[in-house]
C-alpha cells in the first residue's frame, strides 16, 4: 500500500523496513552498481571529464543566477514559435492549468511520458479522477501506474520490482498466460500502448533542458514514447520545473555529453528530441497546439537561499547509484518523489524541513554523491548546512540536540577530547573482556550492535603511540 505523501513521514520507520527487505536490497543494489560502473567507464571516454563537469556546473549556475532574465527570454522565444508558456506557483495551479488546457481543447485521451515534476504534482491520479483516459507510456512508469505504485528511482522507476512481479501483473492486466520473460512482457506493453498512441488527443512530456534562446524543450529517452507524444496528438503539453533552463543551444552539447553517461552509462540516449511549438505550415504530423507549463513549487525559495546550487540538478540519478545509503534502502524510504542524496536535500527544502527533518541524516557524508554529480553540486556540504539549520532552529528532538552539544563541547577542547577518549577506551575494553568483541552496547549505541559486533579498541590511542615513537 502506498502512503499518501502528505501523511506524517517517519524516516526511521520507512528506512528500517526497507533495510530489512532482502529482495529489495539485492535488486536495488544490483541495479545501482551496474549503472554506477557504466558511468565510470563512460566518463573515461571524455577528454577531460572533470573539466567538462566543472563547465556544466558553471553553465547551470549562470542560468540560475540570471533565471529571471532567461525565463523572460524563454517565454518570448516559445511565443515566437507559436506556443504558450504558463508559469505556475503551486502544484494545484499546475494541475488546474493542464486540466484546463485539456478541457478547452476537448481532449479525452492522454499519452504521458515520464516526468518527475508530474509526480510532484500528482498529475496522473488527478487526470484519472477527472475522467481523462490517461496512460503512462514509459514501460517502467506504465508498470507503476497499473500497480498503483510509486517510482523509486529517478531513472529506473521500478528498480524495486522483479520480473516475476511484472509477469503476474501483466498476466492479470492483459488476461494472458503468465510469462516473466522481459522481451515478451515488453512486446505486450508495446502492442497495448501503440493503440493508445494512435488515438491520443493530448501528449504530455517532461523536459531535461529548456533552451532560453530558441524556446526549445530538450527531452531524452530510450523507448520512443516521448517522440510518440510529440508526433501523434494534436495537443502537446510539456511540464517542467523553472530551473531547467540553459541559455543557448550550444549548452546542450555540454550537458548531453554528461547526462546519459552519468545516468545509465550510455554515451547518449537512443532519442534526444528538441521541440518548442506547434507544427509548421505544411507539416502533417506534430501538435497543432503547444503549451509549456513551468512550476515554481518551492524552487524560488531555494533560489533565494544558500542552497541555490542544488537547483543545478539535472536529475540523472548518479548520486542515487553512488550512495551507500540509497543502495541499502531504495527510493521509497525517502518518502517523496526525489530520493537518494539529492532527495535528502531538496525534499526538505521544497516541502518543509519540519516534516522531513530526518532526511538530511540519511547520509554518511562519504562524498560519493559529490564525486558522481555531473554538475558538481556539493551535496555533502549542503547536507551538513541543512543539519546545522535544523539543529539551530530546534526542529529536531531534544536528545539529539543534547548529544550535539556534548559532542561539540568535547571536540572543541583537546584536553576533553583526550579524557573522553580514555574513558571510552577503558569502558569499551572492559565490556569486550577477553573475547575482544563487544556484542551489546547500552542506550542509542545499542542500535549499532544489534546486527554486528564491535571489536574492542587498542590499549593505546594513536596519539599515545605517535608520542612514544622513536624520533
Amino acid at each position: 500500500v502506498v502512503k499518501n505523501m502528505a501523511d506524517e513521514f517517519d524516516f526511521e520507520q520507512s528506512s528500517s523496513a526497507a533495510a530489512g527487505d532482502e529482495r529489495l536490497k539485492s535488486a536495488v543494489s544490483a541495479a545501482t552498481m551496474r549503472q554506477y560502473s557504466g558511468r565510470q567507464a563512460r566518463l573515461g571516454e571524455l577528454r577531460d571529464a572533470d573539466a567538462l563537469r566543472e563547465l556544466a556546473g558553471q553553465i547551470k549556475q549562470h542560468a540560475l543566477d540570471h533565471l529571471d532574465f532567461y525565463l523572460e527570454r524563454l517565454i518570448a522565444a516559445v511565443e515566437r514559435n507559436g506556443g504558450k508558456v504558463h508559469l505556475v506557483s503551486t502544484a494545484a495551479e499546475a494541475r488546474e492549468v493542464i486540466l484546463g488546457i485539456a478541457e478547452k481543447a476537448e481532449c479525452r485521451s492522454v499519452i504521458k511520458s515520464k516526468s518527475m515534476v508530474s509526480e510532484e504534482i500528482e498529475l496522473t491520479g488527478e487526470m484519472e479522477r477527472r475522467g481523462l483516459d490517461v496512460v503512462e507510456t514509459d514501460l517502467g512508469e506504465f508498470i507503476v501506474q497499473i500497480s498503483h505504485d510509486r517510482p523509486s528511482h529517478i531513472v529506473a522507476p521500478i528498480v524495486h520490482r522483479d520480473r516475476a512481479f511484472v509477469g503476474r501483473l501483466f498476466s492479470e492486466y492483459f488476461k494472458t498466460a503468465f510469462s516473466d520473460d522481459p522481451e515478451i512482457l515488453t512486446r505486450q506493453a508495446r502492442g497495448h500502448l501503440r493503440d493508445k498512441f494512435r488515438r491520443a488527443d493530448m501528449g504530455m512530456t517532461g523536459a531535461n533542458f529548456l533552451v532560453a534562446e530558441t524556446g526549445q524543450v530538450c527531452a531524452v529517452e530510450n523507448e520512443g514514447n516521448v517522440r510518440q507524444s510529440i508526433t501523434t496528438p494534436r495537443v502537446l503539453v510539456t511540464l517542467a520545473g523553472i530551473e531547467k533552463i540553459v541559455p543557448r543551444p550550444a549548452d546542450l552539447g555540454v550537458m548531453l555529453k554528461l547526462l546519459a553517461r552519468s545516468s545509465t552509462g550510455q554515451h547518449l540516449t537512443v532519442y534526444t528530441s528538441l521541440f518548442g511549438g506547434p507544427r509548421k505550415k505544411g507539416e502533417k504530423d506534430g501538435p497543432e497546439e503547444f503549451h509549456l507549463v513551468l512550476l515554481d513549487g518551492g524552487r524560488s525559495d531555494i533560489l533565494g537561499s544558500k542552497y541555490r546550487e542544488t537547483l543545478r540538478c539535472i536529475r540523472c540519478g548518479a548520486c542515487l547509484n553512488a550512495c551507500p545509503v540509497y543502495r541499502k534502502i531504495g527510493g521509497h524510504a525517502y518518502g517523496h518523489v526525489y530520493s537518494g542524496p539529492i532527495g535528502a536535500l531538496i525534499t526538505p527544502l521544497m516541502h518543509g524541513v519540519e516534516q522531513y527533518r530526518e532526511l538530511p541524516q540519511a547520509s554518511s557524508l562519504c562524498g560519493a554523491c559529490f564525486e558522481a554529480c555531473p554538475v558538481k553540486i556539493d551535496i555533502p556540504r549542503h547536507l551538513v548546512n541543512l543539519r546545522e539549520e535544523i539543529n539551530s532552529r530546534r526542529i529536531n528532538g531534544r536528545v539529539e540536540r543534547m548529544v550535539y552539544r556534548v559532542w561539540a563541547w568535547g571536540m572543541g577542547s583537546p584536553v576533553l577530547y583526550r579524557v573522553m577518549g580514555a574513558v571510552q577506551r577503558f569502558d569499551l575494553r572492559r565490556r569486550g573482556g577477553k573475547s575482544g568483541w563487544i556484542s551489546r552496547l547500552p542506550f542509542v549505541a545499542g542500535g549499532w550492535t544489534q546486527v554486528r559486533d564491535l571489536p574492542t579498541p587498542a590499549p593505546r590511542s594513536f596519539h599515545q603511540l605517535w608520542k612514544s615513537k622513536p624520533k
Binding site: V270, P278, G286
Partner: protein, 223 residues
Amino acid sequence: MEEQAKMNERVLEKVRRALGRGAAIVDAPVAPEIHGAIAARVVEGSENLAEIFARMCGENHVGVEFVAAGEMSVRLVEFLLHEKVKRVAMSAGGLVSRLGAAEALRRGGVEARMWGEITLDEVYDFDCGVTDVDYAVAETGSLVVRASEGNGRALSLVPGLHVAVVEESRLLADLVDLFDVLGREETGSAVSLITGPSKTSDIEMTLVRGVHGPMRVQVFVVG
C-alpha cells in the same frame, strides 16, 4: 489570456526577489564560454569521421553501409526486397525521393508511398520508413532528423524498420558542432537525434530492443 500573463508575472516577480533584484535585467548576461578543447570528444581533421561514425553505429546496433551516389537507388531497392518489407513509407522532397526507388519497389511487389500521399494514421500500418537525414554525428553515431513538410516525424518512428539515407558531406564530428550548426539554422518545429533502435531496461535491467520506436535501424551513407 490576460489571466495567464498576470500569473507569469507573479512567478517572475518571485524569482527576481529571490535573486535580490528590484527590476528586470536589461543587458544580456554573458554565459560561460564553451571551449572546444574541453567539450569536443572528436576533433574534425584529426580523425576519419566516416570511420568513427561507422564504429559508433556498430556500438549502437545500427546497420551501416557506405554506397556510391550512382548505386544508391539500386542498393536501396535490393536491401528492402531482401528484407521482405511489404509497405514502405518514404520522405518526400529530398534525397530519398530523388533516388526514385518507389517505382522499382512497386515492380518488386512492395507498396511504396511518399509522405505526401499518406496520412499519419496510415503510417501505423507500414512496416518500414525510409527517411532523409539532415546531419549525422560521428562522436555518437546519431542521425539528426528535422521535421518538415516532406519529412514527417512518424516516418522514422512508427514503422518497425527505419532506413536512413545520409550524404557523407553531412557528417559532423561532435555534438558541440551539431548544436552550433542547429543554433545558427532554422531548426523547424522539431529535431530528433536517433542513436539506435528503441530499447528499454526497465524490467530487471534486462535490455530489450524495440519498444515504442523501430526495432531496427539501417543507415546508408552516400559518398
